[in-house]
């Protein structure tokens, strides 16, 4: 009798546990596979994804933490076109990383939808074209740089035949020094780690790239490598989502920028539009003594507005970047001994500040 009771209790408890586990699995899978709008037969049969105008479509996306107490994202709407480079900018804690992680399928939204070429972000067909560089990647310290890339090559499902060549090409592109390639990753510096992270993104020729603060803490050479890689992706037609605090960097590489503030997208602005706007040029000179008069003369005989004039520097306002060479030519013609001419790249910063002020107001 006692054995029968014990056995019945055991069977009941086991059934309850399986039920609990299965229910959660069903929920996970529901999130994983029931949302695609395209009909597909198997992940393995999908090699190319049909290209639509809007590659990423985000509708009414919300993500709450701590049972709704913290609203990281609240009703975000955004469309990202194929081949576009878009920058996400905003203050710390605005929700940029959360938005990126939702797009990558690493976080489940509380509500709303994200569709990438019609599939949910967790779909294997999406992952095959995705590459990601987190802000603080945690590498396998015991591996060497080469081995790490071989690992990611294998993970990406690429044929093994070209593995060695692809790994070398990626390492060459990020200019990771030869002597470091066979060293254990735990001996790498911050810059080398970031280069390795960038190299793993190059594996598998991705067409959808996500970078979360890729240049934070990097030296200028490494920053240039990151920028050049993004521009190369852009030239190859890849879609790039860049999360960065370096506004000048965003302005240089991005087609559009989205300003995020307290979980909302306040403004989506084209950087081409910014280019068409007025540009402030700062000029510093060594001589001659009557430089002030000559500069005033340049301003009076052209469309350049002289905004500021100090003892050895001046600020001209131009109607666009296309006028920069004209200004320099005019300065040379006026025989001003130019020491330095540079653009006051503060437009995005001004927009960013204005966006914050609006919110504070």
């Amino acid at each position: 009798m006692a054995k029968a009771v014990a056995r019945a209790a055991l069977a009941g408890a086991r059934a309850a546990l399986i039920g609990f586990a299965l229910s959660h699995q069903v929920l996970e899978r529901r999130h994983l596979i029931l949302k695609p709008r395209y009909s597909i037969h198997s992940c393995d049969t999908v090699t190319t994804i049909p290209v639509v105008t809007s590659m990423i479509k985000i509708s009414n996306l919300s993500k709450f933490y701590k049972s709704g107490k913290v609203k990281a994202l609240d009703g975000v709407e955004l469309s990202i076109n194929a081949g576009e480079v878009i920058g996400l900018i905003g203050p710390n804690g605005a929700g940029k990383t959360t938005l990126m992680q939702c797009m990558l399928g690493l976080l489940r939204p509380t509500s709303g939808d994200i569709l990438i070429n019609g599939f949910v972000p967790n779909h294997l067909a999406v992952k095959k074209i995705t590459a990601f560089l987190p802000e603080r990647p945690l590498f396998e310290g015991w591996m060497t740089g080469r081995l790490f890339l071989r690992y990611h090559h294998m993970l990406s499902g690429q044929p093994d035949v070209n593995a060695a060549a692809e790994v070398e090409k990626a390492l060459d592109e990020v200019q990771l020094q030869e002597s470091a390639r066979d060293r254990r990753i735990k001996t790498y510096s911050k810059g080398m780690l970031q280069r390795l992270g960038l190299a793993q993104m190059l594996i598998g020729k991705p067409s959808l790239c996500f970078l979360d603060e890729p240049t934070s803490g990097l030296d200028p050479i490494s920053r240039n490598i990151v920028r050049d890689t993004i521009l190369k992706w852009k030239a190859d037609g890849a879609t790039v989502i860049l999360n960065s605090h370096h506004l000048d960097e965003v302005e240089r590489v991005c087609d559009r920028v989205a300003f995020i503030q307290k979980g909302h997208i306040d403004l989506v602005q084209s950087t081409r539009g910014l280019e068409g706007e007025t540009v402030a040029m700062l000029v510093k000179w060594a001589g001659p003594a009557n430089a002030h008069e000559r500069l005033k003369e340049i301003a009076s005989h052209s469309s350049f507005g002289l905004e500021l004039l100090t003892e050895k520097s001046a600020c001209f306002k131009l109607r666009g970047r296309q006028e920069m060479p004209l200004l320099i030519r005019a300065l040379i013609d006026a025989q001003v001994d130019i020491e330095e001419v540079f653009e006051d790249r503060a437009h995005l910063e001004k927009l960013f500040t204005a966006s914050q002020s609006r919110d504070a107001g």
Binding site: R14, Q25, C43, K127, G141, M154, S156
Partner: protein, 252 residues
């Protein structure tokens, strides 16, 4: 199963074989030589090396990972790099369980080989090796404990170690039931203890004894169902936990 995760988890273990690991093997061999010299029955030693506590210990030592069973997720994003590749969580967990199975089986086989070698060195008359059904049981049980170990490794460090401690304690309690029968002062306590130990064993152990099953007079499916359902539960909970703690930024 994911080939990359399988191969690189093995590589990780091979790259981290320490002097301590080698010392343990050498000391065990010396101990076995002593046992063979004193004419001890090797069957008990073989049973020892294939028992749940040993399998759990071997499996646990084989399942290390950079992020699994650690708090290092706070220091960086490990799974973010992994799961943005075409790899599902279920595939990852299942692969890890298979790696632990192979690793545990390899270590167990090494120690069982040492038993045979020690007998050979000491010129034992009959060299006792593990028989076929016991080896099948060992292989299947390695997978069962592989599932347990992956679950324990998927938990955060502190909880993982506590669960391992509880599991090992239960292993010890079960192995001490024969001893407790000796205290026949209060038979009801002994019976209750036996039932409790059996209950825990049936409920928690993903273990099957093919030798007993095959040689029993009446075949029953119950041990097989118990084993399969236990493995399934452990794997599913591991996948569920991995889904929950995949990204340190949002552990809520």
């Amino acid at each position: 199963m994911n080939r990359a995760v399988f191969i690189f988890t093995f590589l990780l273990k091979l790259s981290t074989v320490s002097k301590l690991d080698i010392a343990i093997v050498v000391l065990t061999f010396i101990g076995l030589l002593g046992a063979a010299y004193s004419g001890k029955e090797p069957t008990a030693i073989i049973e020892g090396f294939t028992s749940p506590p040993f399998l759990l210990f071997f499996g646990y030592s084989f399942s290390q990972d950079v992020a699994l069973n650690s708090n290092s997720l706070r220091d960086g994003e490990y799974f973010a790099l992994l799961f943005t590749r075409p790899l599902t969580r279920s595939s990852y967990v299942l692969t890890k369980a298979l790696v632990v199975t192979c690793g545990t089986l390899a270590i167990s086989s090494l120690f069982l080989g040492l038993v045979g070698l020690s007998e050979l060195v000491m010129h034992a008359k009959n060299i006792v090796l593990i028989d076929g059904w016991r080896f099948v049981s060992l292989t299947v049980n390695c997978f069962g404990f592989g599932c347990v170990v992956v679950l324990l490794r998927t938990l955060p460090a502190k909880i993982g170690f506590r669960c391992l401690f509880i599991f090992l304690s239960i292993c010890m309690l079960n192995s001490s039931t024969d001893f407790s029968v000796k205290m026949d002062q209060d038979a009801s306590i002994v019976y209750a203890w036996e039932y409790f130990a059996t209950f825990l064993q049936n409920f928690l152990y993903p273990v099957i004894d093919f030798d007993a099953l095959v040689h029993s007079t009446r075949f029953t499916w119950q041990p097989i169902i118990d084993y399969a359902s236990n493995c399934l539960i452990y794997l599913m909970i591991a996948i569920y936990i991995l889904n929950k703690r995949e990204f340190s930024y949002a552990e809520n």
